[in-house]
């Protein structure tokens, strides 16, 4: 069955550093993958989409890579700020019809 793995432990980094979050998937080949941010008590908010024929996508301080051979996506936040502290969810396309399958998320804490 499809399986998505994200770092289950929280990632603590210092302000100004680059945060790198990992998403690994197995047993399928998604046509695209999305990343979401979720703050406590709120619904997830869409950040970026990357398609299988794209290696890298950028948006301001965010960068996503998609390696279909390794079955992995990396999510980078450069020059991190305390306001970037949140849980980040990886969501590969899950079998058509705009359905997504979500990972459990990685909590990021950016400290001063």
């Amino acid at each position: 069955s499809q399986k998505i793995e994200q770092n289950s432990e929280a990632l603590n980094i210092q302000e100004g550093k680059t945060a790198t979050l990992t998403c690994n998937y197995t047993n399928y080949s998604p046509a695209y993958l999305q990343w979401y941010r979720q703050d406590p008590g709120r619904g997830p908010v869409f950040l970026l989409l990357i398609r299988e024929n794209e290696k890298e996508k950028r948006k301001e301080r965010l960068k996503v890579t998609f390696d279909t051979t390794l079955k992995q996506s990396l999510f980078h936040i450069t020059a991190s700020q305390p306001a970037d502290s949140a849980t980040y969810l990886c969501a590969p396309e899950g079998g058509g019809g705009n359905k997504l399958t979500f990972g459990t998320g990685t909590q990021l804490k950016v400290e001063l």
């Binding site: 289950s8 046509a31 619904g43 989409l49 019809g97 705009n98 990972g103």
Partner: protein, 114 residues
Amino acid sequence: DVKVTQSSRYLVKRTGEKVFLECVQDMDHENMFWYRQDPGLGLRLIYFSYDVKMKEKGDIPEGYSVSREKKERFSLILESASTNQTSMYLCASNLGDRDGSPLHFGNGTRLTVT
């Protein structure tokens, strides 16, 4: 601005009660989804709908049903609530005509079944 509104932020119900969770979107989106989110399990898809009066089962439909009588409204129904349905329920919507269309989520309903 795009908006998905869930009728209740918090809900407490008793075992065996029939529970209705309502979701309304104002974006004219074709697709609507119901997820539940539990610690360590992430978001799991319960049901989704591609159009009015259409519904399809997601990964965990047991114990739930849905209704979509109007395009903007998607209801999740717990026919007989049980304690293992205590969870955060999230409604989402997206466009049906574009592959990879982002999901827009409501802020969730935290349901407790006692």
